[in-house]
């Protein structure tokens, strides 16, 4: 009886993982398809499609754009999130509970709505669609996340440390830059890398707010319109690999930092 339930549990867990990862496995597998259709049967293995994507200038430009937008918009979101968290944690602001809720609220709004809203604002202001507007959109999406992560790690025990810094002659910006931010580095990095991975494969806002220079997901989407092709599988695998790389880097930096701090 005991045995049976263990086996059932293992089977259940196996199915769940299969369910989650099967699409990715299939995607990666058929990116090596020796043939022009990424569907069974698997005719043989080749690196031809990878060669094709790496020599595709448009695709590589889009990949570069994506990285640029992800890194810069995440950095901006982290700085803004940190400043907001600092203000809420260290000063008594009027209606601070409400204001805090309002900062986090966009997390629950669909990116489609945010994208459309931004689009009409940009129309009104006359700002032309470009990578900058995509970046702005990603800051809007990621700021609540960065704020929430950083705010959660700001505890009362750091207050005395900041006070000591002030007592020793540090000005406000020096306290933030030399004391608070380094103390919160693990959570700031966590926020940064999470935000990078979100921005990296965000499609809707990137699609709505870009025109000539596009990010990778948008470029892939336009590739898809011309039909299935193992090339899309190959670029999809690259996207997946880079996401994993971000996560691993985050795991390492953040984990090592939190493990070390007292």
């Amino acid at each position: 009886m005991r045995h049976l339930s263990t086996w059932l549990a293992a089977l259940y867990a196996g199915l769940i993982y299969l369910f989650i990862f099967l699409p990715v496995v299939v995607l990666v597998l058929f990116s090596f398809q020796d043939g022009s259709l990424p569907v069974p049967p698997l005719n043989g293995l080749t690196l031809r499609w990878y060669e094709a994507i790496f020599s595709d200038g448009k695709l590589m430009a889009a990949l570069g754009n994506s990285l640029l937008v992800a890194l810069i918009s995440s950095a901006v979101a982290c700085v803004l999130g940190f400043l907001a968290a600092y203000a809420f944690a260290r000063y008594t602001l009027p209606a601070s509970g409400l204001l805090r809720g309002l900062i986090v609220a966009p997390m629950t709004v669909s990116t489609l709505i945010i994208g459309l809203g931004l689009l009409s604002i940009l129309n009104i202001t006359g700002l032309r669609l470009s990578l900058v507007t995509v970046g702005i959109g990603h800051v809007v999406i990621n700021l609540p996340l960065c704020f929430a992560i950083i705010y959660a790690s700001m505890g009362g025990h750091q207050v005395n440390i900041e006070r000591a810094a002030r007592d020793l002659g540090a000005r406000d910006w020096q306290v933030m830059l030399l004391v608070t931010a380094p103390m919160l580095l693990p959570s700031i990095l966590a926020a940064f890398f999470l935000s990078v991975t979100f921005s990296w494969d965000e499609f809707i806002v990137a699609f709505l707010l870009s025109r000539f220079d596009v990010t990778l997901p948008v470029e892939i989407w336009s590739m898809l319109r011309s039909g299935l092709d193992p090339k899309t599988n190959a670029i999809g695998s690259v996207v997946f690999l880079i996401s994993i790389a971000f996560l691993v880097v985050m795991e390492f930096t953040v984990f090592r930092k939190t493990g070390k701090s007292s």
Partner: protein, 359 residues
Amino acid sequence: MTADVSIRNATKVFGSFRALDDVSLDIAAGEFIVLLGPSGCGKTTLLSILGGFIEPTSGTISIGGEDMTHVSPARRPTTTMFQDYALFPHMCLRDNVGFGLRMRGMGKAERFEKAFSYLDLVGLRASSAKKPHELSGGQRQRVALARALAVDPHVLLLDEPLGALDLKLRRQMQDELKAIQKRVGTTFVHVTHDQEEAMAIADRIVVMNKGRIEDVGTPASIYMRPRSLFSAGFMGEANFLPAKVRGASGSEAEVETALGRVALPASAFVSGSPAVGKDVTLCIRPEHFRNANADVPTVSLGRGRITGSAFFGTHHRCHLAAGDAVLTAHLPQTDTPQTGAELDLRLKADSIVVLQEGV
């Protein structure tokens, strides 16, 4: 460097609560002052006012003759050593100690050299590359001291710096603190609620209660000649005996207690001269019940019966019943007090202190 401190009529009100009530105190340059009092009496509030972390509701603070009442902490010639040390967790000891100097724009080489010399002062030079989390509690405490002293404050404020240490380490750190204060000559204002710690390190003790100063003086004078019931009770054990003044002449006064009439020298009245008919309280330290030498003036409170005793190493602590009164006496360690035995309650006349408050 060092400076004197003058607190004039400092009052701090939180909402409707008076955390500090009209406190005035003068501290000489280079003095080691200990603020002593029970939890919630306003010690931290007073220290925060000195450090500039809170502003008094009314009253003034001056340091080295300059008015500091509304000056920010960074611009005061004070530094604070916090109870939880508040070290910078991401910096090595050298950078922790050098932080204040860096904020003052001192160059790297000079700053490091000075940081090393202060780490040397607290015996942690060899650990200068370590981070605070690699240190023991006592070592962190030393780093906090070095960091606070490195900027040459005129006044160092210490808020229960030894509170988190175990008893043995605490005694050791008390001696170190005292020695370091002597060496650097800075004025120290140290907060504690441990009266033994206060006696161990203070030049002068300030006894506080409910936002007010009850007593100020050297450890010996506060213990031997307390000026209030609270101060007497907080600085060690004391017997309080209600009494009424029956007669007063120039150098002597006669008081009536539940244990009979006794004649006391006028100098026993530490807080105002004796007035006939007034209710007063006799304050008697338990160790003063030891049989006084016959060649000094003594007073007798009759006899007491031992109702219980316990051995404390340095003395026997005995409970006595004398008439309706219950007293505590500390008898010499060589005695062998027996429950039920009687004791002559005789003590030196000058060991009794008369306080003008009733109990």
